[in-house]
Subunit: 157 residues, 2 copies
């Protein structure tokens, strides 16, 4: 499974094109669909990105809900309804729609941030602030990693 690490700042050209970091692309080179899936973060003013296969996993999980239930509908609308599937061009770039650029407040540069199985795309300035906040929260709360999945909280409807 694709693992995204580190952060890389790339240029966003006037057509909305931006190179996906080479390291991210090789992490996804086994994927059927060569490209990424992006959507607007629920928690931050940034974009979140996944490999295609991650989306089919999510779809499988969604299928655990009743197909016509409210919960299924809400989740599907928020997740799939606002996602976009962006293929790499021949040079490993994707094209961000004006919509996405506005949401993330991007101008001429953007930083790709590896977060394990997903990544985020930030305005460089916002990301620095975000990083500070995250560090401080970890220090004050003494946040640590949970043990490997002990408690499988099954939120079933």
């Amino acid at each position: 499974m694709a693992l995204f690490l580190s952060n890389v700042t790339n240029k966003l050209d006037k057509k909305g094109r931006i190179s996906v970091p080479s390291a991210f692309r090789v992490a996804m080179k086994e994927e059927d669909f060569q490209g990424v899936v992006l959507f607007q973060s629920n928690n931050h003013q940034c974009l979140e990105g996944f490999a295609w296969s991650t989306m089919s996993d999510i779809n499988n999980r969604l299928d655990h809900f009743d197909m016509f239930s409210d919960a299924q509908d809400d989740l599907a609308t928020a997740i799939f309804g606002s996602a976009v599937q962006l293929p790499f061009d021949g040079d490993g770039r994707i094209i961000l729609s004006k919509n996405l650029i506005d949401f993330a407040g991007l101008s001429d540069q953007a930083v790709f941030v590896g977060l394990g199985s997903k990544f985020q795309i930030w305005n460089p300035h916002d990301f620095e602030k975000r990083q500070d906040v995250a560090r401080k929260k970890i220090q004050s709360k003494k946040l640590t990693l949970p043990k490997s999945d002990d408690q499988k909280g099954e939120g079933r409807s």
Copy 2:
């Protein structure tokens, strides 16, 4: 299996024709029947759409209800009774009947919303409101996806 995502707004012409987004069509290009199945949503003022092969899945799920129960009867009536099968024309469009247009409150534009294994067709204005509601409900209810179950998920390396 067809996986629909993202949302695309297209024009509805005076003949009732509307282009199905190219991405949705390629998601269905392996289908025997080249077209979609639509019916009126039970929960919202919108249309719901499936690939033809998905209908048999729905049928299987319906069979999990008691064959002669009220619930089975109600669901089957609501779903199959109002469903229409719409083929693509040579340019990838479908034709919406006045009936469907009225039900969804469509005028000159409509947005196709990918929801995983199904999609919806909305009046653009209504969809924005719907999206807001869905996002808020997820945040307030802390709705999350159940963790992937390893029995079903095909393990990729």
